[in-house]
């Protein structure tokens, strides 16, 4: 099996460079929804890159915590994509984004009640059955202090993993953003996160809300990974060892070489592991 080191989110602007990239342990992640077309140049590119590098399919719209049933057409499209591309990783979010047949392009929060745990587990199991393999569930960014939680987020995610056999995707930028926005400790979250369940890590940048400043952070994916996120990443890796790690950048996209420098910074954390292997 190919070793997955640090990878990059794949953007159409970087297709050529991604195809030619020969970095060791490199992989690419795409938002599954952007490639659910049946044909065309976009799919041709993705298939070409898939022949050169391992691929991760990251979903943003399955609405695993939605009160509504999973969209059957979207699930079929995801299953077809998984079958055709045989990705190394498949992931989604602990959030909802569909209601009354509308899709709301965001990762929305909910009270983590016992009823929600049962519902999310049923949805995760349905997705895993449809695609024939486990997925990883990501902790989203939080902007609200909600009431009505029966579990904290780590307990909730661990319970889903225990019941469905899914893995977890630890987004360390989301941990920091959520901790600032809800007044909790990011270091405590990272220390408590069940390392044995983590199959992937996300790293990204964020920005301050233009009105509320440093008290309200926005998970904008439009900036380099900041020192505070690198610090939390090192804290996790020192405890748990490295995991496949993605540098996410979805806006204010720099040159591929600039992203590769950030990716190298993450890849350096893998060196001790490879030396002892």
């Amino acid at each position: 099996m190919t070793l997955l080191g640090a990878g990059l989110g794949l953007k159409p602007e970087h297709y050529e460079e991604a195809l030619r990239c020969s970095a060791d342990a490199m992989w690419f992640e795409v938002h599954a929804e952007n490639y659910m077309a049946v044909g065309g140049p976009r799919r041709t590119w993705l298939e070409a890159i898939r022949r050169e590098h391992p691929l991760s399919l990251h979903g943003v719209s399955l609405s695993l915590a939605g009160a509504e049933p999973i969209d059957a057409r979207a699930l079929q499209a995801l299953a077809a994509l998984v079958r055709e591309l045989q990705p190394a990783l498949v992931s989604e979010h602990l959030a909802w984004s569909r209601f009354a047949s509308a899709y709301l392009p965001d990762l929305l929060p909910f009270p983590r009640s016992r009823a929600m745990l049962a519902l999310v587990c049923a949805h995760v199991a349905e997705v895993q059955d449809a695609i024939g393999r486990p997925i990883a569930i990501e902790n989203p960014s939080h902007y609200l202090r909600l009431e009505g939680h029966d579990f904290d987020e780590i307990e909730f995610l661990a319970a889903i993993a225990r019941r469905t056999g899914c893995a977890l995707l630890l987004d360390i930028n989301n941990v920091h953003v959520s901790a600032v926005n809800t007044g909790t400790s990011a270091a405590d979250y990272v220390d408590r996160f069940p390392a044995e369940l983590v199959s992937e890590i996300h790293l990204a940048g964020h920005r301050q809300d233009p009105v509320h400043g440093a008290r309200l952070l926005i998970d904008s994916h439009d900036a380099p990974v900041p020192a505070v996120v690198w610090g939390l990443f090192d804290r996790f890796v020192e405890r748990a060892g490295p995991r496949p790690t993605l540098i996410e950048r979805d806006a204010a996209l720099p040159a591929f070489s600039v992203l590769m420098q950030e990716r190298e910074a993450a890849q350096r954390r893998f060196a001790p592991l490879e030396e002892t292997a």
């Binding site: 049946v38 044909g39 979903g59 969209d71 979207a74 709301l104 909910f110």
Partner: protein
């Protein structure tokens, strides 16, 4: 599903679209605006990406106003946001503020046709030489099947001329001839291409797409009053990559 979680998500969506409510304390927290902005911005940005020519013609502010109104009226139905905006041409046509821009719905339809062509299934292109190898009888009794990436549109105003110039970053030559136009978009060799076609050619493509034989399609176009010369038009359509194959007529 519990009534409680349905009620929470229902009130969350209402507050996202209509604003905070006294009975929903979380909707007054500063962070709630982040969700409101992200949902609205995400949908508007998807429209801007899907309709780049409409965006450029209107400019940021007017586009945001029109797209924001559309988002509130017709939220996305699908996580595949690249499919979002199908109702926008009709929405723009019904907008009182944009009534003077009578070419805008056509420009929007062309932007959407470009995306559809770009994402359509892959299929072989029917070569001109293959059709020329047929007898006249085989051709007339055959059913020409449009390529999955072929899109043809007709407009009562010069929407295609405006779209084509804007897309190429070229200035429009004034005065613009205010006339009906038809356009064909195809995707030979993986890139979407476009060309002006005659109204009769667009009608012929539509007749072929409905499964008529070449003979029947020809007859229906001529009966409709549009001029159409198969010997002239078919090579042009074939050269553009408008067809994927010719089936023998089952009847």
């Amino acid at each position: 599903m519990s009534a409680e979680m349905h009620q929470f998500q229902s009130s969350f969506v209402r507050a996202l679209l209509q604003g905070p409510e006294p009975a929903l304390p979380w909707s007054h927290q500063p962070g709630f605006d982040v969700y409101r902005n992200t949902v609205l911005r995400g949908a508007i940005d998807a429209l801007a990406a899907n309709l780049p020519t409409v965006h450029r013609l209107l400019g940021d502010d007017a586009f945001d106003a029109a797209a924001g109104a559309f988002v509130r009226a017709q939220l996305p139905r699908d996580g595949r946001l690249v499919r979002y905006g199908a109702g926008l041409p009709e929405f723009l046509a019904a907008s009182a503020q944009l009534a003077e821009l009578d070419y805008l719905p056509g420009v929007a339809a062309l932007d959407l046709a470009w995306i559809e062509s770009h994402l359509a299934a892959d299929a072989p292109v029917l070569a001109t030489s293959d059709v020329f190898a047929l007898t006249a009888e085989q051709l007339l009794h055959g059913c020409l099947v449009p390529h999955p990436s072929a899109r043809w549109l007709s407009f009562p105003v010069p929407a295609f001329t405006i779209w084509r110039h804007e897309r190429a970053g070229q200035r429009l030559e004034e005065p613009l001839s205010w006339r009906t136009e038809s356009a064909l978009l195809t995707r030979p060799e993986g890139r979407v291409r476009w060309r002006a076609i005659d109204a009769g050619e667009a009608e012929f493509l539509a007749a072929c797409a409905s499964g008529r034989s070449c003979d029947d399609a020809l007859e229906s176009v001529l009966a409709g009053g549009s001029g159409f010369d198969l010997a002239l038009s078919l090579p042009r359509l074939l050269q553009a990559g408008a067809f994927t194959r010719i089936d023998s007529d089952p009847s």
